[in-house]
Subunit: 314 residues, 2 copies
């Protein structure tokens, strides 16, 4: 139900209505069988649902605010990857008996900065106490700012970009990342973007998804892949290279996108662009993904696994 | 993600794409970061999310088809209660390790008759293996067929109706009920409906929700409340009355709605109406809910609990 219907959790529902009951942007928010968003002009409505689950996406000891933040931010990252802006969110919460009311409130408090920053409303959801594990489902509904940016629009000759350093997100970024809504909206409004996807499961795997959906291949320049400080930090601990972490770790939630040559040149000196971009390679007609090492040799870039052939030090 | 992104559940995702990959009614279905529904004319978009959780809404031994059916049908019932028709659904699945791929497929197979009957598309969702409990989150997006039917539009003088016999749903109906989409759409198109809500938590509690949202009260005629065969069956076992079961059991998923006097007279002899309706009472200005017993005495009808004062035999 849109009204947060709770079984034995009435106090939480009342608190939610007080704190998140605003229906800004909606015709009807929390409080009926469903919420209503009145669409008045032709609109590309964008729909995404994610779930974060105890022991899969977080550990029982993690701060509830961090868990709540991550749950909503993941869905917002999907909205960004379509070149869309969020309108409203619905949240489903399965709560185990060992969680307190305060824990549940803290989950929602963790979402609050995202609701404010991206001006979206909580439209409702469902809360169920008595579950055997903490599971948070987040649905975000948005609208495209121009046309939808798909995974399938990469073309040979496009350049390949990412919006930030990659790897090592398990050291913190996976619960503090910025969903790239504003960056994606700027790209959609100002550039002839080809394909776009967010990096949730690692650059290598998500690049495979993008190239397969587009029916093309890609070559990544090993040297050009930006490694985060945490990728270097992890590399210093586990003997794998920072590049391997950047390619495989995932949960970076940066945008991976392609631009035609002319647009690629234009974006690099665009004074209206406030965010970093890194050109990491190019799209080719030949299927498959390759990586060109510092030794000048191209090797196959598998969708997942470790890349021991790159003996880079962290 | 809209694409069913799975961790270690690729076989399930492939099967889903094959079986449910149709994007009928959508511009983009399963397979990108999010789904897209192109809204071309002014539309009241209706949004609802429900979660069903092991040990709360079903037991580990229940047939997966029944669990999947119930998960989706609950959200469809919320769509019906707004006077809306469904367009598409998103499903989040947290799967414990003891569940097989076949179990997961059977969950979705249980949803299939609903997808077909109400012509909605599966737009995507999220699948996560390795959870500690089975949790299914369902988001349904729909559109109003006329104006939204709210809980808050009951007025003194309206008559109160339900669309079917109540009580005893735990004996089977809770996993086999018909979401009253078609009935609600007929009501919305042909009548000046006042308030509407679906009965998920029992007639008494949901009537309280409706009257409180509308700022009115209601009197229910005990004799007029339709008891299901299963309400009588349960009453025969536990010594409570069939009326008590009809008032309190919940998970009936029938519609509870109000009509102005003229409309109430008209609906009872409408030849275009193929579904039953039961006039069970009326709306009053005085706050609170009352029930008028067969003994001719009105008593307070509390939102939940047992009604031992009605010594009716099952």
């Amino acid at each position: 139900m849109s009204a947060f219907e709770a079984h034995g959790e009435d106090a939480l529902v009342e608190w939610l209505k007080q704190r998140f009951g605003s229906a800004d942007g909606l015709t009807l928010g929390i409080g009926d069988d469903a919420a209503i968003w009145s669409v008045r002009t032709p609109t590309e409505v964008v729909l995404t649902h994610d779930q974060v689950t105890e022991s899969v996406h977080f550990f029982p000891g993690d701060a509830p605010e961090a868990i709540g933040f991550k749950a909503l931010a993941r869905s917002l990252s999907d909205i960004a990857a379509m070149g869309a802006e969020p309108v409203t969110a619905l949240v489903g919460l399965a709560i185990p008996r060992n969680r307190s009311l305060i824990d549940c409130q803290r989950l929602f408090i963790g979402m609050e900065p995202l609701l404010e920053r991206f001006e979206l409303t909580l439209a409702g959801g469902d809360i169920n106490a008595g579950a055997n594990a903490l599971v948070i489902g987040t649905t975000v509904i948005g609208r495209c700012v121009t046309r939808p940016l798909l995974r399938s629009d990469a073309r040979p000759g496009h350049s390949l970009f990412v919006t930030g350093p990659l790897g090592g997100s398990s050291l913190g970024k996976h619960t503090t990342f910025e969903p790239r809504i504003r960056e994606a909206n700027h790209l959609a409004r100002h550039y002839e973007v080809g394909a776009m996807i967010d990096i949730s499961d690692g650059l290598a795997l998500d690049l495979h998804r993008l190239t397969e959906a587009s029916g093309v291949g890609a070559t990544v320049l090993a040297e050009a892949v930006p490694r985060s400080d945490d990728a270097h930090r992890l590399a210093g601990r586990d003997g794998r290279s920072a590049l391997e972490h950047a390619l495989a770790d995932g949960e970076d939630f940066e945008l991976l996108f392609t631009l035609p040559a002319e647009e690629a040149r234009r974006i690099e000196c665009d004074p209206s662009r406030w965010y970093p971009i890194y050109r990491i390679g190019g799209i080719e007609a030949e299927a498959g993904c390759r990586i060109l090492g510092e030794n000048g040799r191209a090797e196959s870039l598998p969708p997942s696994g470790w890349w021991h052939q790159f003996g880079e030090k962290g």
